[in-house]
């Protein structure tokens, strides 16, 4: 029983990490309707930049600030060079553009900083501690708390600030937002910058866990089923979806995996979400699409 809880909690905490990546996706989709496939690449890029800057001797806080700045610049570049020219295209074109963006960012990240796996030390010890006889990783817990904090900050930001309100308006209806004078392009720049910051946090946490390497962007692909499970436009969905996916994945790997030869983590999340979507096609908290003819 104890073991079950350990696996469950481990899974939940891993799920939080997925949620962090999914959060970046959801932010951009909510505000601009763009499904940013490049979010994973952004996570990798942020982590790589931070680690490489530190390697070159920058003190931690400066590296952090510099990376944040770089992500901001990236966001602005994306808005200017990719989003603005594609403004009237159907969503599938924008999605495919973000696929191209993924290649660009990955190529840039590894080209500039190299593709050697780098370690990332965040100063959080990974020694487990005991809660009622169940071992919990300190690191995972710290990651969960960070994620929670981030979500709380974002929720407050969206709900109570002027920019947040504008973002919600844009997410709802571009044209209407334009007609009340909300500067669409600035908003999109803000959204991509925020998504970049979220990517940085996710990159730091994932990087500390796994080492900063190309595989990060593959893991980010896991955030896709998380998002679809939660519903593409829901922040709560990203969190809940991440928890569900993380937990079920770990439990399946431990309990069902051995019977099937192991390695089912590769596909389990996708199959589970697929089956869920069959029952509820818009995800947990997603908006139902009503097509009027």
């Amino acid at each position: 029983m104890q073991f079950f809880f350990e696996v469950l909690i481990g899974g939940l905490l891993a799920g939080v990490m997925y949620s962090l990546v999914a959060l970046g996706f959801v932010l951009i989709f909510k505000a601009s309707g763009v499904f940013n496939f490049a979010q994973g690449a952004m996570v990798l890029f942020a982590a790589l930049t931070f680690v490489s800057l530190e390697e070159r001797g920058l003190p931690r806080w400066l590296a952090l600030a510099a990376t944040l700045g770089v992500m901001l610049l990236l966001a602005m570049a994306i808005e200017r060079l990719v989003l603005r020219p594609l403004v009237n295209q159907p969503p599938i074109s924008l999605f495919m553009a973000t696929i191209g963006l993924t290649f660009c960012i990955e190529g840039m990240a590894q080209g500039v900083w190299g593709s050697v796996v780098k370690g990332l030390e965040l100063g959080i010890p990974d020694t487990p501690f005991e809660v009622k006889g169940v071992l919990v990783s300190q690191f995972d817990l710290a990651a969960a708390l960070t994620a929670g904090l981030l979500v709380a900050v974002l929720a407050l930001f969206f709900q109570f600030t002027r920019v947040g309100r504008a973002l919600r308006a844009v997410a709802d209806d571009h044209q209407a937002a334009l007609s009340v004078g909300i500067p669409l392009r600035h908003i999109w720049g803000v959204v991509w910058a925020v998504a970049g910051a979220v990517a940085l946090v996710a990159g730091l946490l994932w990087g500390a866990r796994l080492g900063v390497q190309f595989a990060l962007s593959v893991i980010a692909l896991k955030a896709l089923p998380v998002m679809f499970l939660g519903g593409l436009t829901s922040i709560a969905g990203a969190i809940v979806g991440g928890l569900l996916v993380g937990a079920s994945e770990k439990l399946a790997e431990v309990y069902i995996g051995p019977a099937l030869g192991g390695g089912i983590e590769n596909w389990f999340a996708y199959v589970v979400v697929l089956l869920f979507l069959l029952v509820r096609p818009e995800g947990l908290f997603g908006e139902k699409r009503i097509d009027r003819v």
Binding site: F35, L81, V82, P85, L86, Q89, P91, I92, S93, F95, M96, A97, I99, G100, L101, T102, F103, C104, I105, E106, G107, M108, Q110, G111, G114, S115, V218, L221, L224, P225, F228, L232, L260, G261, G262, G263, I264, N266, W267, Y270, V271, V273, L274, L277, L278, P281, E282, G283, R289, D291, V293
Partner: protein, 355 residues
């Protein structure tokens, strides 16, 4: 002047429905086929054939498959690699366990197996629409990769997981020279391309495009949703399956799941985007572009930097330029090379007049 249609009247519907209604087009296509079937095997270098042409033809087939599903029927798919893998491994299984069957039948059976798998993973498309469908095809991709690696039966219990493709023989003639492999691939590609063009201009193709453009209206005017979507998955996966089998047998020489991973799916998707969604010609153009591109880029960079490039930088520059090209195409000509070709032809019709 040369490309005028003036004086060419079509007096029957049969004549109007031709694939190439204009005489000049027919002449050019006939010439191309002559060159492809006769001139190339006789005169082209081995490098050209093996490194470029065979690769291009097989990938065009896969691109055609994905184009049918995503370009014509509007069902987004990231599972192309998986379906190709099914075709390759199924063909291997048939050749291994039923060696009496003719080679071409094995390829067809491999395609049919892929089609069956495609239909299974296409079933969710009846409930799930748009981008959400990506989950189903991703599930297909990862599950198939896992299955083919873990379950020993597929790899004939080989220790390394990599198996050699059996020798190819058609009617007693061994297909072991590059020229023969090229002709095999060319013939299959030509036949399947023709079949695709026929499907696309018939009832099925129209039903696919109707579902892509406005599926609610399509259902209302009586187009059967289930049959249309599943037929798209089935035909598309068949093409991808045959392409996968050819990739293993006529190009790689081995049957391995790594050749059909997620990167492969993305590569084929890129070919569809650049070549042009919803176009048979575009599939060939897009595949050709992507096959040529790394070679051209390498030459260009070597010319620019000599040998002074840091090793490991080259693939990343390639990746970066690759991505930029995708974005560039989407901005400049979202309908891809096929549309550029169409525009060129229209300009040619007026030449030498400006308008």
């Amino acid at each position: 002047m040369i490309y005028r249609e003036a004086g060419q009247f079509r007096t029957t519907y049969r004549a109007d429905q031709r694939i190439f209604p204009i005489v000049q087009d027919r002449v050019v296509v006939a010439a191309l086929l002559l060159v492809a079937f006769v001139v190339v095997p006789l005169f082209a270098s081995e490098y050209l054939i093996t490194a470029l042409l065979i690769q291009w033809l097989i990938l065009s087939l896969a691109t055609l498959g994905l184009n049918i599903l995503t370009g014509y029927a509007g069902q987004f798919s990231l599972g192309t690699g998986g379906f190709m893998a099914v075709g390759a491994f199924a063909t291997y299984a048939f050749r291994l366990r039923a060696p009496a069957l003719p080679l071409l039948l094995d390829f067809a059976l491999g395609g049919l197996c892929a089609a069956a798998v495609g239909v299974v993973f296409g079933l969710p498309s009846l409930r799930i629409r748009g981008l959400y469908l990506a989950v189903s095809t991703l599930a297909a991709q990862f599950f198939i990769e896992w299955l083919l690696t873990r379950v020993g039966w597929f790899t004939n219990y080989s220790a390394s997981g990599v198996i050699s493709a059996q020798r190819m023989v058609i009617a007693g003639v061994p297909i072991d020279t590059p020229a023969r492999r090229y002709l095999l691939v060319l013939s299959i590609a030509a036949v399947l391309a023709l079949a695709a063009k026929n499907l696309v201009r018939s009832r099925t193709g129209r039903a696919w495009m109707a579902v892509r453009d406005m599926d609610v209206a399509a259902e209302v005017i009586g187009i059967p949703m289930l049959r249309t979507k599943l037929s798209a998955f089935a035909v598309s996966s068949f093409y991808c399956g045959v392409a996968g089998a050819l990739w293993a047998y006529a190009f790689l020489g081995t049957v391995e799941p790594q050749a059909f991973d997620l990167d492969r799916s993305f590569l084929v998707l890129t070919m569809v985007i650049i070549g042009g969604t919803g176009s048979v010609l575009g599939s060939f153009l897009g595949a050709g572009f992507i096959v040529l591109f790394p070679i051209v880029l390498n030459q260009f960079l070597h010319g620019l930097f000599g040998e002074g490039l840091r090793p490991g930088l080259l693939p990343n520059i390639q990746l970066f330029v690759f991505g930029s090209l995708i974005i560039f195409f989407l901005i400049v000509e979202p309908h891809g090379l096929a549309r550029l070709w169409q525009i060129a032809k229209e300009k040619l019709r007026l030449w030498p007049f400006p308008h």
